[in-house]
Amino acid sequence: MDKKKFRETALGGLFNNPVFVLVLGMCPTISKSTNIVDAFALGTATAFVLVFSNLFVSALRKFIPDKVRLPAYIIIIATFVTLVQMFIESFLPDLNESIGAFISLIVVNCIILARAESFASKNSVGYAVLDGLSMGVGFIFSICLLGGIRQLLGMAGMKVFVTTPGGFIVLGLMMALFNYLLSIYKAHQAKKTAQILKGVA
């Protein structure tokens, strides 16, 4: 196993965070991050679809002709979304009432199609599943963080942050902070690598 590729894929959800770095899936991120419970549920549902669609897209990549790959991916993604929706309707009716509308919209969530197209269709099943897990966890982390902060601000009386415009403000600030911390980490890593190379030379 290529250790570097494994590490890069496993940490993809952090360094290429779908919400804070790639800025994908903004509609559910803003709409359902008003409280942490809905955010976690939608994040988990999205992660499930991401993992399984990546698995099947990767497994079938050699059989799906290039010209029909997108409709094929959409069918695969829609199947898993419908399964999740049926499961939630059957077992979690209260959750279904609050996030039901957004479950069916997972089909058109850019994160899922983007990962299927840019990663799963070009890599082996193991890496595709790892990428799905990593990106899924990254999405859950971001949406829960946003949901938690907006819920706390709402409870503190700042109701504006529970609204959609307020959601964008919180998201923008979170995005700035996340990318700032990420740039510090990357600069630190680059410095460390340069020192090692200098030592070797």
């Binding site: 799906i64 002709p65 029909v68 094929a72 399964l83 049926m86 499961f87 009432e97 039901g100 509308a101």
Partner: protein, 203 residues
């Protein structure tokens, strides 16, 4: 056979195989997952009281049996749903057993608007099959019913009527949310047909 035709046929065949496998998986899941079963809990009683009020509070209405679920002895719900599957699904029918609205039927219906969004309504009916009250339990459509003014306008317009066309809903609410409007129209049509069946053709 030219290479282009061959490629097109292979592409179509692959898509068909993927679609067939997907549909089979969904059919199996649909067969094994438990179906919605109506229950009369405190939350449901609260919703029923909004469309067909009784003088008792929620907990008294629940414990004293102010509402009941209309069972299969009154009508064949499964057959009705099969016959009307293109319109939507009746999830449950409730009846007011006590109080000034005793005898009133309440339907819980689910339909799909334009673009496959679910709309679930709870609609109460008078003895002459006209609407007595209405609340939305779910609207995944264009969010017409999240606007309280439009929702109130819809309620005011539908009370006393047996059904409403999509144009009438648009005029009454001033909304252009096609997904929601279509879902509401289908809900009213479906529940109206069922009420006529329950009350008898002559009434």
């Amino acid at each position: 056979m030219s290479r282009t035709v061959k490629n097109a046929l292979i592409s179509a065949a692959v898509l068909v195989v993927i679609a067939v496998v997907s549909v089979t998986c969904l059919m199996l899941a649909n067969a094994f997952l438990p179906k919605y079963t109506p229950t009369l809990d405190i939350k449901k009683i609260g919703q029923l009281r909004q469309v067909a009020p009784v003088e008792a509070d929620d907990s008294t209405a629940l414990s004293d049996g102010y509402y009941s679920i209309v069972g299969s002895d009154a009508f064949d719900l499964e057959k009705f749903n099969t016959d009307n599957r293109t319109v939507g699904e009746v999830l449950a029918v409730y009846k007011v057993e006590k109080g000034e609205n005793a005898g009133m039927y309440i339907t819980e219906t689910k339909t799909v608007g334009y673009g496959s969004q679910n709309t679930v309504l709870l609609t109460a009916y008078n003895a002459d099959a006209t609407v007595a009250g209405l609340i939305k339990l779910r609207d995944d459509g264009d969010y017409l019913l999240t606007d309280s003014a439009q929702y109130e306008a819809l309620r005011n317009a539908v009370i006393g009527k047996k059904a409403m066309t999509t144009d009438e809903i648009k005029i009454a609410t001033g909304a252009t949310a096609n997904g929601s409007i279509s879902g509401i129209e289908k809900n009213l049509r479906l529940s109206g047909d069922l009420i006529v069946l329950l009350l008898g053709e002559g009434e």
